[in-house]
């Protein structure tokens, strides 16, 4: 348990009768990147704000680095960096001045301020625009400046709310690299997003939010097993052979389904690639593709909400 930087038990947030966050449990471990996923309005941002003590909780307990954000918000905020959704800076001030203001609020000793700002801006590659006004910055630069603020703060936990929304692919890539960089320097990162494929690439674990509940939590693979069923999906493209018939009887193969002409999807409970290849080739078929399908979060997500709708 000492490895958890954030522990949430039964966290509740009521807006009137509506349960925006419905008694959730969360654990975020030291040094991991944790994704809060879910559609807009699922309670991600509310949860984040409660973690920071920026919004009152209606029930449950939160422990961030050993502090209670409700009673000790200053201690929490001193150690946790936060990059809000579409972060804003003071446009009439330069990047440096914006960070100086933050540094003053953080009560960083004056002698250290300049060094830490420069270092932080270097880490996000903004040191060449240190004295440019923020009004000239692009959205991606602003997000990076937000990361720089967290770096300067030397936070133990970084909470990023929709960090990649509105960014072009290149900027997104850069930002995700920086998030990985944070992780490398030992910072636990909690990020929320509704853009699943991007998050998938960086997150160690994710929690899937739905209407205030944590529907699923774990690694992406665990989630896929849970939603899409356990097993290894394979894609087979071949010609000149009846794949379904050929593969029948291989130990471990559960379903074989033709998706299109010459393309099949196979689900097995173990890695059956070698056996599949052998069977098709020995049956005289031309194997053009044999791919181990990574479970896609997108898929998990879609499937899960389909099932949730069916259930409802």
């Amino acid at each position: 348990m000492a490895d958890n930087v954030i522990e949430v038990r039964g966290l509740l947030k009521l807006y009137g009768a509506q349960r925006a966050v419905n008694a959730i449990d969360l654990d975020i471990r030291r040094g991991e990147i944790f994704g809060l996923l879910g559609p807009n309005g699922a309670g991600k941002t509310t949860t984040i704000l409660m973690l920071l003590g920026l919004t009152e909780t209606s029930g449950g307990t939160v422990n961030v680095l050993g502090f209670d954000p409700v009673r000790q918000p200053l201690e929490v905020k001193r150690r946790v960096g936060y990059l809000p959704d579409a972060v804003g800076f003071y446009d009439h001030l330069t990047a440096r001045e914006n960070l100086v203001y933050t540094a003053r609020l953080l009560d960083i000793p004056r002698r250290q301020i300049d060094g830490r700002i420069l270092e932080a801006l270097k880490s996000v590659k903004l040191d060449d625009v240190i004295d440019k006004r923020v009004s000239t910055f692009s959205r991606g630069m602003r997000q990076r400046l937000g990361i720089a603020e967290i770096v300067m703060k030397q936070a133990e936990v970084a909470i990023l709310d929709e960090p990649t929304s509105g960014l072009d692919p290149h900027a997104t890539f850069e930002l995700l690299e920086m998030i990985r960089g944070l992780k490398k320097s030992g910072v636990a990162v909690l990020l929320s997003s509704h853009l699943l494929d991007r998050v998938q690439s960086v997150c160690d674990r994710v929690a899937l939010f739905n209407k205030g509940n944590v529907a699923l939590m774990g690694t992406v693979v665990e989630l896929a097993n849970q939603v899409l069923g356990a097993g290894h999906p394979l894609q087979v493209e071949a010609s000149g052979v009846d794949v379904a018939a050929t593969l029948n009887g291989i130990v471990g193969v559960q379903t074989v389904r033709q998706e299109s002409d010459g393309s099949w999807r196979i689900v097995a409970d173990r890695d059956v690639r070698a056996a599949v290849a052998q069977r098709i080739v020995s049956a005289g078929g031309a194997l053009t593709r044999l791919a181990d399908l990574q479970p896609s979060l997108e898929e998990v997500y879609t499937r899960y909400f389909q099932e949730a709708r069916h259930a409802a």
Partner: protein, 320 residues
């Protein structure tokens, strides 16, 4: 479940205050406001100085007269001009204090630093107030300097004391309007709405309230006035209604401070005038006692409006 929070609510007050103060002083808006004030203040001061130079006045409080003299050319004294300029300045400084942080999406980022909202709001208020104070002190010094230059006599100690008290009252008056402007900046997310509402309150108190108070008085006053006491009571009631306006409190406080011969701000019965040496100036401490309710009213009003803004701000969600 009100659990007590830990840490001083003033944590981070200093940086917020300094940033707001620096922002105001370097902003173009401040330049415009100052220009506005100087233009508006210069005319009454210039004309009253001209009058005071030509007229050998037996009034020994000649420096105070610079502030209060209502010359014929302009028809408005310096203090009367300040009476409606100060609210304008304060509204200009405060109408977008909080909602602009929302709109720039800086609020949640700033609040995620180790400070409470208390410090943010108070720091913004104090920053605005300090800016106002700097502007007023500068204005005051300019007037004093012009007086020294053109009248060629130094002000007496008691004049300086009264002038400084006037400055304090003016700052408190500005504080009331700053609090009102900030209240609207907390209530409305749109800065334009907030500015409009603050200006609306300003117009209400300066134009509508005197009329409304008159109408209310007609309704409230007894139909028949039989004695001097009745008359005095009606007068007091009217004054009481007018004193709900911060402008009235300010002008009364200024009257008491800068016109030392002022003995009372209410109606005076003939029996109270018997034996009185009219025109004799009140001692400074007595003048201060005379206007004390006005001053405390302004300060208390400022605090209460600020408290209202505070409560609303605390209840607001930080998310944009």
């Amino acid at each position: 479940m009100p659990r007590s929070r830990e840490g001083s609510p003033f944590t981070g007050l200093g940086p917020v205050f300094l940033k707001e103060f620096a922002d105001h002083l370097s902003s173009a808006r401040m330049m415009v406001l100052m220009l506005f004030v100087i233009v508006f203040g210069a005319f009454p001061v210039a004309t009253s100085l001209q009058t005071l130079r030509t007229v050998v006045d037996p009034n020994s409080f000649i420096f105070l007269r610079i502030f209060t003299l209502e010359s014929e050319q302009v028809g408005i004294s310096f203090t009367a001009a300040l009476n409606f300029i100060i609210p304008l300045m304060a509204i200009g400084l405060g109408f977008d204090a909080v909602n602009s942080e929302f709109n720039r999406r800086t609020l949640s980022r700033v609040l995620s630093q180790p400070i409470y909202r208390d410090a943010l709001l108070l720091g913004k208020f104090l920053g605005g107030l300090a800016t106002l104070a700097v502007a007023l002190v500068a204005l005051w010094l300019i007037v004093l300097g012009a007086g020294l230059l053109l009248l060629g006599v130094p002000p007496r100690g008691v004049e300086v004391a009264r002038g400084l008290s006037f400055l304090v009252v003016a700052i408190a008056y500005g504080g009331v309007w700053l609090a009102i402007a900030m209240l609207f900046s907390v209530i409305f997310r749109s800065t334009a709405t907030s500015a409009l509402c603050a200006l609306g309150v300003w117009l209400f108190f300066f134009i509508l309230w005197p009329l409304l108070a008159g109408a209310l008085l007609v309704g409230l006053a007894p139909s028949e006035i039989r004695s001097m006491d009745d008359y005095a009571a009606v007068q007091s009631m009217g004054l009481g209604l007018m004193r709900l306006s911060p402008g009235t409190l300010f002008s009364e406080a200024v009257l008491g401070l800068l016109s030392p011969e002022t003995r009372t701000l209410g109606p005076m019965l003939p029996s109270q005038m018997r034996g009185a040496i009219m025109g004799a100036p009140l001692p400074f401490d007595q003048s201060v006692l005379l206007i004390w309710p006005q001053v405390t009213g302004l300060i208390a009003g400022m605090i209460v409006v600020f408290a209202a803004a505070y409560v609303i701000f605390q209840r607001e969600e930080v998310r944009a």
